[in-house]
Amino acid sequence: MEFTTIGKSVVRKDAAAKVTGKAKYTRDMEPKNMLHAKVLRSTITHGIVKHIDTSKAEAMEGVLKVLTPFNIPSGNFPTAGHPFSLDPAHQDIADRKALTDRVRFYGDEVAAVIAVDELTARKALKLIDVVYEELPFYLDAEEALKEGAVEIHEGSKNITGHNTYTVGDVDIRDAFAQADYIFEDVLEVQPVQHVQMENHVAYAYIEGNGRLVIVSSTQIPHIARRVVSQALNMPISNIRVIKPIIGGGFGNKQDVVVEPLVAVMTVMMNGQPVMYDMDREENISCTRTRHGVRFYMKTGVRKDGRFLAKELRAYGNGGAYAAHGHSIIGKIGGNFYRTYPAELATKYEGFTVYTNCSVAAAMRAYGIPQIAFATEAHVDNIAKEMNIDPIKLREMNMVKEGFKDKLSGVTINTCGLPDIVKKAKEYLHWDEKIKEYANQTGEIRRGVGMAIFSYPTATWPVALEIGGARIVMNQDGGVQLQMGATEIGQGAATVFSQMAAETIGIPYEKVNFEEFTDTDIAPFDTGAYASRQSYVGGKAVKKAALEVKDKLLTRASVLLSLEKGDLDTQDGQIIRKDNGQQVASVADIALDSYYNYHTADTIAADVTATVETNGIAFGGSAAEIEIDMRTGRIEFLKLINIHDSGTILNHMLAEGQVHGGMSMSLGYALSEVMLYDQKTGKPLNNNLLDYKLPTLMDTPSLDVSFVEPYEPTGPYGNKALGEPPTVPTAAAIRNAVLQATGVKVNVLPMNPQTLFEHFLDAGLIEEA
């Protein structure tokens, strides 16, 4: 497919604004009469609020109001950034209140102070006395499921959701019976946190006409609007949500975290603006996390290495509230089946469990970094036991083009895995290195490893996929592009602008994208999640742009007395198709559309697109590492991610997405973990000093490569790219550790402590 603007590394629409400080984030726009709020967070992990004494706080100068669970107008609401379901059985669990008298994790929200400034609000929190009745708490999912465990949510048995399926023509027991070997592993990944650089922040006020306005750093403005409507029992038309420029989200802002609270506050303050800006410490342990998951994985393998039967039980630690419910552990099940389809049968059982940990929900790639680590580690373990080359084992078992997914009904149209594996082998000089690094001894050892994955671009058929776009052509032939899809830092504004320019036939610079998403103005779209926006929103842009182009050519043909079918657009000009001759400029036609005395009719389109398909993206990572056996420290000699995301819409931005995903996966692999005191349930490392996200000094040089099959279901041949880079890197590093040392590390993170203990157990080192 030949493109003019798609695929070009054009500069981001918002880059200049962001290097000059002109970009306005939520906190940068506060009205002058702003009030500020801080939240009193529980100092116990599980229990009941028996009494709150707010009298001393209320008496403090500068304090306007103290809110408790007993004096606020808020009902229960769900928080997940999912489209609303018309089927009550599929609606998200509404288990949250703006403030709670039932504490379910350390730091749960029990009271709030509204004051003239943040410092006053913070001081007033210390004057609030709370009496609690404590209950036993559970930090481990399987502990919370034990007989007799106290229910964290009444009637739930501590299960948020239970996913099961069996697929295959053969009974699962018979399938395992046909296998020559059966391999089992217990694998475990830790909870981690998004640590987007801008903390959650929102403010709300009521306009003179009585409408509630919420300005929020959110990925999902239209969903936030609906959830606030549920929480406050207020008509959706009375609510307006504005999303300014966003300082990162990664799924943490795909939940409704602060919006209901600021809405309640302004309602209680007669509409005066009230802001709540979280501290970093609150943001790490009191917003959302990536689920920690324990996997019991079993594979039945034929002598030649072919997987005949697969079975997985997964326990996802969902934390204190349902948030995204069982959809993440459900997605894990779909992925388990798809990436390496078993010849005979596959069985899955996934539990999403309430515990008293921080709330787990969406984080970049929605369960797939978890299952990809487990799967890829398990595959390498099998390869080692069977003495088969791990890449050959992958090639023999990995999913292929044309595969029809029996769970989702989606067919894989394009699959770059064979090319990805080939590139990874070449990059690592695999065959030579595998030999060179075999049977090493000594204190410094080297290894190579790789991992692959598959990844659905959008959420279909699990959820509705809908996106809206509006294009209005200006008098000079430039256009305004408005969408409900949100720019959160990933570059959506830029690639949507490229799409509009491509299809209308005008220069990229002539497209203005409104980066603030205002639910009063922006067409409906469910927002930034999955890797859906360029796929679903992209389809809407293409539809609107085609309509604009059609109107443009219709007007041109009338004005120029030429056949419409003979005309086309190119780089802002109207041209003749046969000889490329310019017959008018787009600007000429646009100006006429505004001011023609008889036929003025501005050129615009306002469309909605739905998608009832899903493009499956693929990728892999390859690592060459060096380990110091004495310290358990890993250094990188080489690290690459290779992606099949279909057409790459902007190579410079795409590389940036991949680098960021690799960095997040490096943290997952080596250093990041949410730690809780086992005796009290208190978070131990909810700050940037003790929570070890990779710094510049921890991050090696990152290589990126793409294979680009044209995906027929994508509007421009494109598939997922936003999330996939976070998936494979950790497993590739883990498999390099296995190759270097022969030690199977089935847990993350592989920090020096973990590696030291594993090497000690394997007898590779001795305790000093």
């Binding site: 918002d14 880059a15 040089s701």
Partner: protein
Amino acid sequence: MLKKITMTVNGVKRTVEIDVRESLLDVLRDKLGLTSVKQGCGVGECGACAVLIDGVSINTCIYLASWADGKEIRTVEGLEQDGKLSSVQQAFVDGGAVQCGFCIPGFVISATELKEKKQSYSREEIRRALSGHLCRCTGYQKIVEATEKALEED
């Protein structure tokens, strides 16, 4: 306790009344409207609030405003000249170093400090010099490359 301080901010002499306990971050944002100065942690861990104080990149969340009395302060709002981005800003834009952008003013400030020292730096030295800034979007790769490019230019 309130106190008057005088600083040169992006080339303009400014006298402001401050609470002696206030951070320079709060004064620059709330009293002077310089919203490029971002708060990511409030305790000197992330580097998003760095500005140039007498040419040195410093985290303003842990720098008292009263210490800035008599000092020269520069933020990214003051780096453009004659409608043109500085070489560091331009390199960040052209090199795709910007994603969500929340950490970017801090990185631009530290890269500008390096640029103004007029020395040559190895990539490793650049990495070390910028390592006080956290970024979750970019894996730092294009930030380092853009800084390297800006430092190579005259």
